[in-house]
Symmetry: C2
Subunit: 149 residues, 2 copies
């Protein structure tokens, strides 16, 4: 069930040890959940982790996500509405969020290359993955649209 892309297990333990941090089962479970779920909120990650280890507290989820981000194994993206979502560091793409149905589409990051280049000229170094782009997906453009219900 768990997707171990390029030996995540091994690199977690060593990455932690490099910094004098300890390997724990909770940390492995959180990292696994992030990889399995693609992009998920702390809440969703907690549910996933608790499926196999019910005793893990949500506080630990928050602390671990924070730590995994600091050591560069995961990143978080703000999709607009509520909670931020976490995903693997390597799994880079631009998120397109439909603000009508909430559906999230992933697009290749080079979609923003031209924009990034233009902004760099103005002194702004764009981080393509941190924020999503929002708009209307195909189906919602043609849907009745209840005038901002």
């Amino acid at each position: 069930m768990t997707a171990y892309h390029r030996g995540v297990d091994t690199s977690l333990r060593s990455t932690l040890h490099q910094r004098g941090l300890r390997m724990t089962p909770q940390r492995q479970l959180v990292l696994d959940a992030v990889c399995d779920l693609g992009h998920a909120t702390p809440e969703q990650i907690c549910t996933q982790v608790q499926a196999s280890a019910p005793a893990v507290n949500i506080t630990t989820i928050y602390r671990t996500l924070d730590l995994l981000e600091r050591i560069g194994l995961v990143r978080h993206t703000h999709l607009g509405h509520g909670a931020p979502t976490y995903s693997e560091q390597e799994h880079q793409h631009v998120h397109l969020v439909c603000h009508s149905c909430g559906r999230i589409t992933e697009a290749p990051t080079d979609l923003l290359d031209e924009l990034a280049h233009r902004l760099r000229g103005d002194g702004f170094e764009l981080d393509v993955t941190h924020l999503a782009l929002s708009g209307l997906c195909t189906s919602c453009q043609h849907a009745p649209q209840d005038d901002l219900a």
Copy 2:
């Protein structure tokens, strides 16, 4: 002190009446605050409103912002970190947020025209103003950078 662009006062009353809604001093104050502040969080708007009308409750701020958005007078943008910010509907621009120092820069929306066109070809209608773009501003690119402190 208050900036009345193109007769906001008159249009608020009539826009409300068109929909069977009532004009109240609180609604005028909230709209004025949004216009004055540019892009502000509900909290900031509340502070601004309470400067002239201390009795106005933050609950009313939230309800009024929601209402003003539904009738198309204001819009909100997610800048990434915490709270959404509200601004006038007409005051359109792209927000660039530095995720190191948090500074917000405004850029013309036509910066995203090419991207919007490309996405439209894929069936996604981009809303340029709803989400900010994040990255590093000039000064933070050259700052020491404490490795994700």
